[in-house]
Symmetry: C2
Subunit: 367 residues, 2 copies
DNA sequence: CTGAAAGCGCTTACAG
DNA sequence: CTGAAAGCGCTTACAG
């Protein structure tokens, strides 16, 4: 355990008392914690006054506030969440529904949402979507959607998320992070998105500018035909009057990129590949290298996301940086707006996608 | 947005009704949702009976149960979390306190905890530790530790976590994931750990067996002198009567590994390096390569964790696989035990660390 | 500036 | 198998 060797467990109590000044006394009904009436009694005021102090209500005399605060400290009182939430009629927490939080984009998004929520005084809890099967989605909602929830943010980058979004019960404030913001859908749900289309366009353009005749694409699962990344990629190709190759459907993992890469490696026409994310790119590059097609000498590869490791891959990966944390902030702002329609529509502050050129792209070899 | 193009937003209502059979009617006080008494009224039974049905209580006649279920469906009723939690005296959620969830180990651990909690019918919420400063830790606890919480699991791999663990108010069930389980500390808190010491020992041993005279170490921040990884590394060196080099303190990121790698590259004595995690290893390798010291030709490198990408790095990384998801399960089991001391102590099921030899290690060059 | 009352929506005993 | 009562610990009106 990472305890400094100089501290023995016996120090625990000392530390708690030392840091917070709390006594460990006061055992009562509810798990040994003091209630608001205990504090009121101890401070010689009404329960209402304690409530006012806790909530930072202005109309409390300094003297009273001090007494109450002292009692709170003495009894080591903290409000019970459930009681507050129940009496307020709304819980003070947002739940984020998402599949697999270990994937970079979702993890960063979750971080952004949590930051914003915390800043606004809300807690974050997570509702995992195990599978896109309707019954699984339904179960996840049954489990995670409190009717008195402070709001739900669904990460609808994949089918499970899209389905969950549609099944959120009415009456719960909701917002979603989506792959692409189109007018039709944003009328149905408040949605926030990064400009994946522009990002894919820029990445493809970069490869074309280098002199590649066309650019192949290994897609992430979310990429249906309406996918923003696919759209941007196709648009750049079309604009350059380049041939539009068939999309190779990948998964989320390097392994699935590896498998796509093996197919790509077999095709001598392939000189440039745009991948749906960096993990995919890593796998693609590995397969290419194994097949004797070095990157970038023989084939150029671009990723998507700019995960923290991408700059240290060998070779360092050219990719598009996506501001998932910023998107998380935006989603939360959107949710706040959804919860209070009288509020003004928030501005989106997530950074625009940015092409980061590193060392996996270069002009094609002259035949 | 990732909606199939064939579906327009107008379909939303249809889908909700279609999938769940719910009516969208019934607007009442609390955010438009029906309460348990509404259901009771509609089904012509008492509120108690509805409660029994919801909670799967056995002593309810089939006929009654059916009627209640029908009313629940008709009114689209779902229980409000806060009300349940309050009346039960304990919330049905665990909160995971951790710093930065985007780091692989923590993300995987969180996933494991969430899985186990979900399986047990509990929700998971997250309490982020922004900094190890005592005031920040205290604030995080103030924010996240509901006195009626179902329990808290703290990820105490770093200083912030260790401090948080010690400051969890008495009366809240708690368990911790720690770097190393020692007898003293596990008497103070229920803790679960992976055998990092054995893992580091095995990794170091592997390098020594290859013929390296000694092994350098780039550590993650958690690694104090009592760190399990340091212990295992030192023990292996000592056993082999090898020189024990000074530890190079790294951070969590590839960038910090890169900086450590630059220092290592300058030292011609260095032929083998054990890194505190895979990200660090990636950075170290990058720096080494830039300095003209190829891996593994000139220097061998071993990581820690076996992140999903490690097998696809160039070269594929030799590392130690750690079962963080399993550790998460174990932490949750431990918490359950802490919440109910009469229960039997759970067995730990996390897989033992496993050295995965790939291509960043080989015998040192003959001078 | 302070307080007494009512109520949030459930569940836990206690009866029958 | 079913129900009437009391209460969980807060906050929201409403008074003063």
């Amino acid at each position: 355990m990472a305890l400094p060797p100089s501290l023995t467990p016996g120090d625990r109590l000392n530390i708690i008392i030392g840091v917070t000044g709390r006594a460990t006394t006061g055992s009562r009904k509810n798990a040994g914690s003091a209630s608001i009436s205990d504090v009121a009694g101890s401070a010689g005021v009404s329960l209402m006054t304690v409530s006012r102090v806790i909530n930072g209500h202005p109309r409390v005399s300094e003297e009273t506030r001090r007494r109450v605060l002292a009692a709170i400290r003495k009894l080591n009182y903290r409000p019970i969440r459930a009681a507050r939430d129940l009496s307020r009629g709304r819980s003070r927490s947002v739940t984020v529904m998402t599949s697999n939080t270990t994937l970079y984009g979702r993890a960063a998004l979750l971080q952004g949402i949590e930051e914003a929520a915390r800043y606004a005084g809300l807690h974050t809890d997570i509702g995992i979507l195990e599978s896109p099967r309707p019954s699984a989605v339904e179960a996840a909602i049954e489990r995670s959607c409190d009717p008195a929830s402070g709001g739900v943010i669904v990460i609808a980058f994949d089918l499970a998320g899209v389905r969950a979004l549609r099944a959120i019960p009415a009456g719960i404030p909701v917002a979603a992070a989506v792959e692409i913001n189109n007018v039709k859908d944003s009328r149905a749900y408040p949605t926030a998105a990064l400009d994946d289309r522009a990002a894919a366009f820029a990445a493809t353009q970069h490869l074309l500018d280098l002199g590649h005749r066309t650019v192949h694409h290994v897609s992430i699962p979310s990429s249906t035909n309406a996918s923003a990344r696919l759209q941007g990629w196709r648009a750049a190709l079309r604009e350059a009057r380049a041939r539009i190759p068939e999309v190779i459907a990948g998964g989320w993992t390097p392994q699935s990129g590896y498998e796509a890469g093996q197919r790509l490696a077999a095709d001598r026409q392939v000189t440039a590949v745009l991948c749906g994310n960096d993990d995919l790119a890593l796998g693609v590059i590995h397969a290419l290298r194994q097949a004797g097609r070095a990157v970038p000498d023989s084939v150029s590869v671009v990723g998507f996301d700019d995960v923290p490791s991408a700059a240290f891959y060998a070779p360092p990966l050219t990719t598009v940086r996506l501001d998932f944390v910023g998107l998380g902030h935006d989603c939360f702002a959107l949710l706040q707006h959804a919860a209070d329609p009288d509020s003004i529509m928030p501005e989106f502050n997530a950074a625009a996608p940015k092409l980061v050129v590193r060392e996996t792209t270069r002009p094609p070899r002259r035949p």
